[in-house]
């Protein structure tokens, strides 16, 4: 990071964060090291974690079964630590398309997808996704035929949801890494589907 820049006073919430953190450290409730470690841990959580889970489910039917029945257990078996996460994985099929929203706030499977995008927290997405999901999906470029059932999941309480998208045709014989490269964050929220054509060439 550059040392040069324009000085900006701290915002209300930044000031609140600094004050609370310094107070907790001063009172011996937390150490600076613990705070840094937690921040680092949050930074390490990216949608690549979710993509790894999806790719494994595509190549390993037993893992897929376990993922749908016991999301946290399946993630842990891949070495992805998801403490206290009550993960419900919902599977897209040719008949059913799933999408996730939290109308009350912005509940999101951060352990697997990282920090939610701003639009996920917007009033527009949160209010319209339960009311007119087909119009919202269409704005994301996803136009689903009328015979596909749309299942919108409003995460209102203790569960967190992730969509298991369908594996696209034309990916037969691909390695797990290559499969994971076409699974983006939006496909795991259910506002996109994995497509081939833009993925990096195989190693």
């Amino acid at each position: 990071m550059s040392d040069q820049g324009t000085y900006k006073p701290l915002s209300y919430f930044q000031l609140m964060e600094v004050s609370l953190r310094e107070l907790l450290v001063e009172k011996g409730v937390l150490t600076e090291a613990q705070v840094e470690e937690t921040v680092e841990d949050m930074r390490r959580r990216t949608p690549e974690r979710g993509a790894k889970v999806v790719a494994r489910a595509w190549v390993d039917p037993a893992f897929r079964q376990r993922l749908l029945a016991d999301g946290p257990g399946a993630c842990e078996s891949l070495g992805i630590d998801v403490p206290k996460l009550r993960l419900v994985v919902v599977e897209n099929t040719p008949q059913v398309h799933n999408a996730i929203v939290c109308t009350l706030c912005s509940c999101y499977p951060r352990m697997l997808l990282g920090i939610p995008p701003d639009w996920y927290k917007s009033r527009n997405y949160r209010s319209r996704m339960v009311r007119e999901p087909r119009a919202v999906l269409s704005e994301f470029g996803l136009n689903l035929p009328a015979e596909v059932q749309i299942r919108v999941h409003d995460s209102t309480a203790d569960m967190r949801y992730m969509v298991l998208p369908m594996r696209p045709a034309g990916t037969e014989g691909w390695s797990e890494e290559r499969l994971a490269s076409i699974v983006n964050r939006d496909a795991m929220i259910g506002v996109d589907i994995p497509k081939i054509g833009k993925e990096p060439p195989p190693a």
């Binding site: 016991d70 339960v130 299942r151 209102t156 309480a157 203790d158 569960m159």
Partner: protein, 106 residues
């Protein structure tokens, strides 16, 4: 019915509803922090699964422990039942987590 997640809290009562059962969300507007969205109150749906039992968020919001834990269900609603002017397929659905004390037999 097996809950999807094992509960590690003292539980209030055994679950009253089973998968596939018709339920209605109570139409009431108590004050406080409520995790049952307004738009679904008064509507009928079917139990999709029992998630497990969890501390009552209405109590947690008052800085209490929320125990004993309350059964939490995922309830499936037909979009056309929730929004009469819904634009989309008749089969489209909405699934919402709702605590047992917000549900009654439909």
């Amino acid at each position: 019915m097996q809950p999807q997640f094992v509960t590690d809290y003292p539980v209030a009562a055994p679950p009253r509803f089973s998968v596939g059962e018709k339920v209605r969300v109570r139409k009431t507007a108590p004050l406080g922090h409520i995790r049952t969205p307004f738009y679904i109150r008064g509507h009928a749906g079917t139990i999709e699964r029992l998630c497990g039992s969890f501390p009552n968020p209405e109590e947690l919001a008052q800085m209490r422990d929320g125990l004993p834990a309350q059964p939490l269900y995922r309830v499936r609603f037909r979009q056309k039942d929730v929004w009469p002017d819904y634009r989309g397929s008749d089969t489209d659905v909405l699934e919402i987590e709702i605590f047992q004390h917000w549900l009654e037999k439909a």
